[in-house]
């Protein structure tokens, strides 16, 4: 009862003109930044700092959350239209979003993305409001063994994320893990495979690799297509709301994706990138038409988009209740809040409860505003694809350069993107999938660091894998996840031979 009254007061505070204004600034700015490859929610939060200094705590929290949610949705726009995820959390959306746009259904793809994003955000927001204390306890259970087994489970998706050729997918994924180990070792501080170069000391950044593998490789493909006289089909922007049949198809993936995203978001140090691939693969495996995924099916957009936006509320659970960031964006958010003199954690709920209620109410309200902004923008965004390819592609090259350069103001990052672009082009030509490499680069550091910590604590004993129910469960999931696609393929081969 007290919570509901608090939420009602919070809603009144949210509807004040000043708070609504800063929320809109955060939302619109977040969507735009999220849609630009290489510009992330973290950057948006840093840009908001001068504004935050002038705000009270309630509006400041609302602005930060709006930037976070807006950027998370915005990444799907460029993922669907130009095969370049705006940030790593939208990488899985490319797999079905771009093919659907290529079939002339960009409007439908964007419509599904915004609906799924809003659903994921709403679900995680409700969990944030009503289950924060309980979910925070779960977050505290995660130590090195749990993180390691979670990473192993994430890595087993590599086998499943490549339905065409599991061997090639595994090779690319393992190569991605190896590439993530270039640089200075997190535990011992040793330089590995840097060959004395200063640039490689910090390792390969994920964003330039992402921009290269997806965007630059697509640019080289478009160059080849333009030589053959190929044309991008004219976009059908007529239907932006999914049909009744599409709604039926995406409801299940949205529910599952939202749950997966919220759970992953709660776990500190994970984030939308892991959630989107986990949701995509897990939901695809249990889908009756799993072989159609990757060709532009609605479920393939709904699953990752609901998952990545599901992480927004989830990541704020440990941030607000424990002062521990759930992912990289909330880590920057924590820094921003500390800069304005606020320390998130248990005392936040005691000393500033009214501001927290304002945030909770605003979080739910902003999802509906994202829906309006998203559906309103659908009539505009796909028109980008009607720009002639000989103008659009050079514009995308400049955007890719800016995206990879912006990360660290480094031209070497832009060169990294180009090199991975060439690699990505040849990978596509010879059927080597790119997503496993991204997964390997994301999960490699988490795997090694936590394995090392767990082994140091357990003094070399591998029994830590089964010390807690959480790590035992993840190990079982991993074994099932790794061998199921192989077993299914063998079973299908035997069936085919028998027939």
């Amino acid at each position: 009862m007290e919570l509901l009254q608090g939420l009602a007061r919070g809603l009144l505070h949210t509807l004040e003109p000043g708070t609504m204004f800063v929320m809109m600034v955060g939302l619109v700015g977040g969507i735009i930044l999220g849609a630009i490859p290489g510009m992330t929610g973290s950057m948006g939060i840093i840009l908001l700092l001068p504004l935050l200094y002038h705000l009270q705590l309630g509006p400041a929290l609302v602005t930060l959350a709006a930037m976070f949610c807006g950027a998370m949705y915005g990444g799907s726009i460029s993922a669907i239209l130009i095969r370049t995820p705006g940030h790593p959390s939208a990488a899985a959306t490319v797999l079905d979003g771009y093919p659907m746009a290529q079939k002339g259904e960009a409007g439908k793809a964007l419509g599904i993305a915004v609906i799924a994003s809003v659903a994921g955000g709403l679900f995680s927001g409700i969990c944030l409001i009503f289950l924060s204390p309980q979910l925070a306890k779960v977050a505290l259970q995660f130590r090195a063994p749990e993180f390691f087994t979670l990473a192993v489970f994430g890595l087993t998706i590599i086998a499943g994320a490549t339905s065409k050729n599991i061997l090639k997918g595994l090779i690319v994924g393992v190569l991605g893990i190896f590439l993530s180990r270039i640089g200075v070792d997190e535990i011992w501080g040793t330089s590995r495979y840097t060959f004395g170069t200063y640039f490689l000391m910090s390792g390969l950044s994920l964003l330039p690799v992402l921009v290269g593998l997806f965007a630059f490789s697509q640019i080289f493909f478009d160059l080849a297509k333009s030589m053959k006289g190929g044309v991008v089909p004219k976009q059908n922007i007529g239907k932006i709301l999914p049909s009744k049949e599409d709604v039926k198809r995406i409801t299940g993936p949205i529910i599952a994706g939202s749950i997966i995203g919220t759970i992953i978001g709660i776990i500190p140090g994970t984030g939308g990138a892991i959630a989107c691939f986990l949701a995509y693969d897990l939901i695809r495996r249990f889908h009756k038409n799993k072989d159609e995924w990757g060709t532009g099916v609605p479920e393939g957009i709904a699953a990752p988009e609901s998952a990545n936006n599901g992480t927004t509320g989830g990541a704020m659970v440990p941030l607000l209740s424990l002062g521990i960031p759930g992912d990289s964006v909330t880590a920057v958010m924590l820094g921003a809040l500390m800069l304005i003199g606020v320390r998130p954690g248990p005392m936040l709920f005691v000393e500033n409860i009214e501001s927290v209620y304002t945030l909770f109410s605003a979080f739910i309200l902003m999802q509906f505003i994202i829906l309006l902004l998203g559906l309103g923008g659908i009539k505009i965004w796909p028109r980008i694809l009607n720009i002639p390819q000989n103008i659009l592609t050079p514009l995308i090259v400049i955007a890719c350069f800016l995206g990879s350069y912006t990360l660290a103001n480094s031209l070497n990052d832009a060169l990294t993107a180009l090199i991975f672009g060439i690699l990505g082009y040849f990978m596509r030509k010879y059927d080597y999938p790119a997503p496993p490499m991204i997964l390997g680069i994301i999960l490699g550091p988490m795997t090694e660091a936590n394995l090392n910590r767990a082994l140091i604590v357990s003094e070399g004993s591998w029994l830590f894998l089964f010390d807690s129910p959480i790590s035992t469960a993840f190990m079982i999931f991993s074994i099932v996840s790794l061998f199921t696609p192989i077993a299914m393929k063998l079973r299908n081969k035997v069936k085919a031979k028998t027939n």
């Binding site: 090779i171 590995r192 080849a224 090259v397």
Partner: protein, 151 residues
């Protein structure tokens, strides 16, 4: 299926795995837990195993049915590498000529490579894009783009 390409990839990765494994031997050993070279060695061993399976499978396939058709159109590779070279030179030259002055020329060249021949349109788009992105990133997003630095 591309057995020839897969065989080359498999052999290349096997060589890379062995070289990386040997190199990892030079990293210091740890007294507790994993040393800096241990995890890379495990990963490279798995990579070696997988790439040898790929190589053997491709060899069998090549013997069954040799690859007949090239995967590339005539002149495609040349175009791709030319375009990549333009971007590489652009990135390197930015250190000296700066974003604002160099980008219009590169945009113009890229539109030309993609077959556009309307000179006035190309000039206007090149200059407008460069100016707009420069102002947006430099002045509003506080991203310091490379500046002219030749003298």
């Amino acid at each position: 299926m591309y057995p020839k390409a897969d065989l080359c990839t498999g052999v290349f990765l096997m060589v890379l795995s062995v070289a990386g494994y040997i190199y990892a031997g030079s990293f210091p050993k740890a007294q507790k837990g994993l040393g800096p070279g241990d995890f890379p060695r495990v990963i490279l061993s798995i990579l070696f195993l997988l790439s040898s399976i790929l190589s053997v499978a491709s060899l069998f396939q090549l013997r069954k049915a040799p690859e007949k058709k090239s995967n590339f159109e005539k002149g495609e590779l040349k175009q791709v590498f030319l375009f990549a070279a333009v971007i590489a030179v652009y990135i390197k030259a930015l250190e000296f000529f700066g974003y604002l002055y160099l980008t219009p020329f590169v945009m113009f060249v890229m539109m030309y490579l993609f077959g556009l021949r309307k000179w006035l349109k190309m000039i206007v788009i090149s200059i407008a894009t460069s100016a707009f992105t420069y102002v947006l990133f430099n002045n509003y997003l506080y991203v310091l783009l490379p500046r002219f630095n030749l003298f």
